[in-house]
């Protein structure tokens, strides 16, 4: 009986959405490595991870938000705003990189908290609050920079976005992995994480359990603001400048990563490593198609088709 249960669990594990994204990921990798010899080279792999990192980090914050049943459409703009503010702090105010990054991340947290407060305390639908914040943060970034990218960052700052740990692991990837591990601990080993899942499942039941639901709902947007700030640091370092127009449309990529990773858009169910997989899958997809020299227009069609296909396939498998 116990063996049977084990076996069943084992079989069911293969039907979880994360597992299917994993399979999809490997299938894609195999295809690409057959058709393109560069694909599996060390430099390309580190390439992919570096390219994935910004979306991966944004997707972590998005996972927290989506788990509570919310959504954060402002991440791309907030990333741009924090990135330009960081650049401005270094260039115009003369703060050292570390302090400038801190200022930017705190700003991200504050913006996230404002999103959260309007969503949780004022009960305005998250999609509206964060849509409005998307415009506000973008406008603010443009106002702050006057539309110009802010350049002239200290050379040392480039380490965050362009450097390597031990000479091989790209720093953005290192940061992304740290962000994922912290998120994993919060979601799986702290009460906060449980509450986040529980709120996505049944908010009223959590409230009656004596838990401060509003505070937790606000906090997930704050977390998303922080991850947007971290992404802003990497972005500004990678581009050696604060770009007020960076990150347009990134919110949709982050959502795609989260949902491809098996997190239910209605909240309550999902796994942070699913999100990592989702981000990797998207990254591999665009890297592979680029390596194959597929026309950009065809790439868009293929990308969309593969996303639907992957999820469709996984949904069939789950039904068996």
């Amino acid at each position: 009986m116990n063996g049977l249960t084990m076996k069943r669990n084992y079989k069911e594990m293969f039907k979880t959405p994360e597992m299917l994204t994993l399979i999809g990921f490997f299938v894609l990798c195999i295809i690409f490595s057959v058709v393109s010899e560069e694909f599996l080279s060390l430099t390309n792999v580190s390439n992919i991870i570096r390219q994935v990192s910004i979306n991966g980090i944004l997707a972590v914050g998005m996972t927290f938000v989506i788990l509570t049943g919310g959504i954060d459409l402002s991440v791309g703009s907030v990333m741009a705003l924090t990135g330009t503010i960081m650049a401005g702090m270094m260039i115009n105010v003369g703060l050292p990189p570390f302090a400038a990054v801190l200022v930017g991340i705190i700003l991200g947290a504050v913006i996230g908290y404002i999103n959260g407060a309007f969503t949780a305390y004022a009960r305005i639908p998250a999609i509206i609050v964060t849509l409005a914040m998307m415009e506000i943060a973008r406008g603010a970034a443009l106002l702050y920079t006057g539309g110009y990218p802010l350049s002239g960052l200290p050379a040392s700052y480039s380490f965050i976005g362009q450097g390597y740990l031990f000479g091989v692991i790209p720093m953005p990837a290192v940061i992304m992995i740290i962000v994922f591990v912290v998120a994993y601990i919060i979601l799986n080993h702290l009460p906060l994480g449980r509450y986040i899942y529980a709120i996505g499942g049944n908010e009223e039941a959590v409230r009656l359990s004596g838990i401060k639901v509003k505070r937790i709902k606000a906090s997930v947007y704050l977390i998303s603001g922080i991850t947007a700030g971290i992404a802003g640091a990497i972005m500004s370092s990678r581009l050696s400048s604060g770009q007020p127009m960076a990150g347009e449309g990134y919110e949709l990529d982050a959502i795609a990563a989260v949902v491809l990773g098996g997190t239910s858009i209605a909240g309550g169910r999902g796994h942070i490593f699913g999100t990592l997989l989702g981000a990797l899958l998207l990254g591999v997809l665009s890297n592979g198609l680029n390596l194959l020299g597929v026309s950009p227009y065809v790439q868009r069609v293929l990308k969309g088709a593969i996303i639907i296909g992957a999820i469709y396939y996984s949904s069939i498998r789950q039904k068996d």
Binding site: R8, I185, H189, L190, P191, L192, R194, Y195, Y197, A198, G201, N202, E204, A205, V206, R207, L208, S209, G210, I211, K212, G268, R269
Partner: protein
């Protein structure tokens, strides 16, 4: 005998559970047939198969001698089988008329909806039920009882041969139950066959002709109701004798004079000027008709709903309770009446549901949850409350109604609160489990915990309470001593009577 429904070897498996195992029996034309059994015995599952919600894994059934298999509920309806579900299936933001005619809209010749006609016919149907309320309100704003009426109206507004009631009285009280019984008589006289599921054996003895017992998904027996006693039915269901469901009340009360909770003047849009006190180790029953504001009173007390006025003293000290968190920190917790919408996170495991309110206590200094302690507490609860489940990892939504209720109880009992408020704690629970829950409440009280128990079941209120608070239209109508309270007295006050 003329059988309208013949079931042969019906089996239904869900992943990990076999809910029905080769069930065969017959329903006679024109009878009122009861199905009884413990929580999780498979009653609802069987009814869902008959009404086209589920398809059986194997086995077959015959309606009027014809083999039938329904691929959806509409097909079953067209063949003459309708069901009133245990869990409501109404649309919260549509109004009563729209709900009653959902899927069977009446149209004008030009194809547009005939709203007037549907409204008139709905009014007619509701009149048959003696129900009276604003048909324009979205049903989310109606009380549970009125929602139940909409469910019934929905089913009887179609010509039907077999009508299934799955625990229709779980959210009804006194008069409404009598109305329902009258309705069943009328339907029966019209030749409708009725299948009736309930955990209230008195009701079954009152209105049913025959009964069938299910246990653990298996058919046990079918009997004429007239030929068996309540004791026999209980024994068939549970497999053992239950002599007295209510535990002995202690003859002398050890904490008699220690007042633990004092409530003064709770007032909001649903209740006004509620004051009472609660002693240590006491069980205070709260009785009243549906809609009398019992739930609203306790929700305002624990801060789940706002109150315009409220003073709460705990052990003589003033306590500020603005939300359930404050209540919990003062040792007060409310175990809500609706397990699905207020009690459980259905997609989460039993374990995570039970430990939710106590996660902070289960965490170490770094706030990391101690999994081992969590498992121990949860497993103990499952054992103590006899929750029937393959493992603590089972999702709450896969449990039967009664077992879900036990999970809800476990969740709040573990918070170590001094004041427990149970709102309809045994709604939909089988008699065996009820006995356990009563025992548990009595033990808690004997340990000095104070209990407020809201219940629509008078015998339960009378059997358990040290004192009985009776509510009428949002006010406290009377406070009776438990030993003196009788069915008549309580009903007198609950219907607005004043001191006799």
């Amino acid at each position: 005998m003329d059988n309208i429904l013949v079931m042969k070897n019906i089996t239904k498996s869900f992943p990990g559970v076999t809910a029905l195992k080769g069930v065969s029996f017959n329903i006679r034309r024109g009878e009122v047939h009861a199905i009884v059994g413990e929580n999780g015995a498979g009653k609802s599952t069987l009814m869902k198969i008959l009404s086209g919600v589920y398809q059986p894994t194997s086995g077959e059934f015959f309606l009027d001698g014809r083999k039938v298999s329904f691929k959806d509920p509409k097909e079953a309806q067209l063949s003459g089988i309708s069901i009133i579900h245990q869990e409501f299936s109404l649309i919260p933001y549509l109004n009563s008329v729209e709900n009653i005619y959902l899927g069977r809209e009446i149209r004008k010749a030009n194809g547009l909806l005939d709203k007037k006609k549907m409204r008139e016919k709905a009014e007619e149907t509701l009149k048959r039920l003696n129900a009276d309320f604003d048909l324009n309100k979205p049903i989310a704003h109606l009380s549970v009882a009125n929602q139940q009426f909409i469910e019934i109206a929905k089913a009887i507004s179609i010509d039907t041969k077999v009508l299934i009631f799955d625990e229709p009285t779980a959210s009804l009280t006194g008069n409404e139950i009598n109305n329902l019984f009258k309705l069943i008589e009328t339907l029966k006289a019209d030749g409708v066959t009725i299948i009736y599921i309930s955990h209230h054996l008195d009701e079954i003895i009152h209105i049913c002709d025959r009964l069938t017992v299910l246990r653990d998904g298996e058919y046990v027996d079918t009997k004429d109701v007239a030929k068996c006693t309540k004791q026999e039915i209980v024994k068939m269901m549970v497999g053992r004798e239950i002599i007295n469901v209510f535990p002995e009340r202690p003859s002398h009360h050890q904490f008699r004079n220690e007042i633990r909770l004092q409530v003064k003047k709770i007032t909001n849009s649903n209740v006004s000027d509620i004051s009472f006190d609660l002693k240590k180790g006491e069980i205070l029953g709260v009785a009243g008709l549906v809609g009398s504001g019992r739930t609203e009173m306790v929700r305002a007390l624990v801060g789940a709903d706002p109150a315009e006025e409220k003073e709460v003293y705990i052990n003589g000290e003033k306590a500020t309770i603005k939300n359930p968190t404050d209540a919990l920190s003062h040792g007060i917790c409310l175990i809500p009446e609706s397990r699905k919408t207020q009690g459980l996170i259905l997609d989460m495991s039993i374990k995570k549901n039970i430990s939710l309110p106590i996660l902070n206590e289960l965490s170490n200094r770094l706030k990391i949850i101690n999994r081992k302690r969590e498992n121990n507490i949860v497993n103990k609860s499952i054992k103590d409350l006899l929750i029937k489940t393959p493992s603590s990892m089972q999702k709450a939504k896969n449990l039967s109604g009664g077992n879900q209720q036990k999970v809800v109880l476990a969740k709040w009992i573990n918070t170590d609160s001094n004041i427990l408020i149970f709102d309809e704690p045994t709604r939909g629970i089988d008699i065996g489990a009820k006995e356990e829950i009563y025992r548990l409440m009595r033990d808690l009280a004997d340990d000095g915990i104070s209990i407020i128990m809201i219940s629509s079941e008078l015998p339960e209120v009378l059997g358990m309470s040290d004192r009985v608070l009776v509510m009428y239209k949002g006010r406290v109508q009377a406070m009776l001593d438990g030993k003196e309270a009788t069915q008549e007295k309580v009903m007198h006050y609950a219907t607005g009577g004043v001191n006799q």
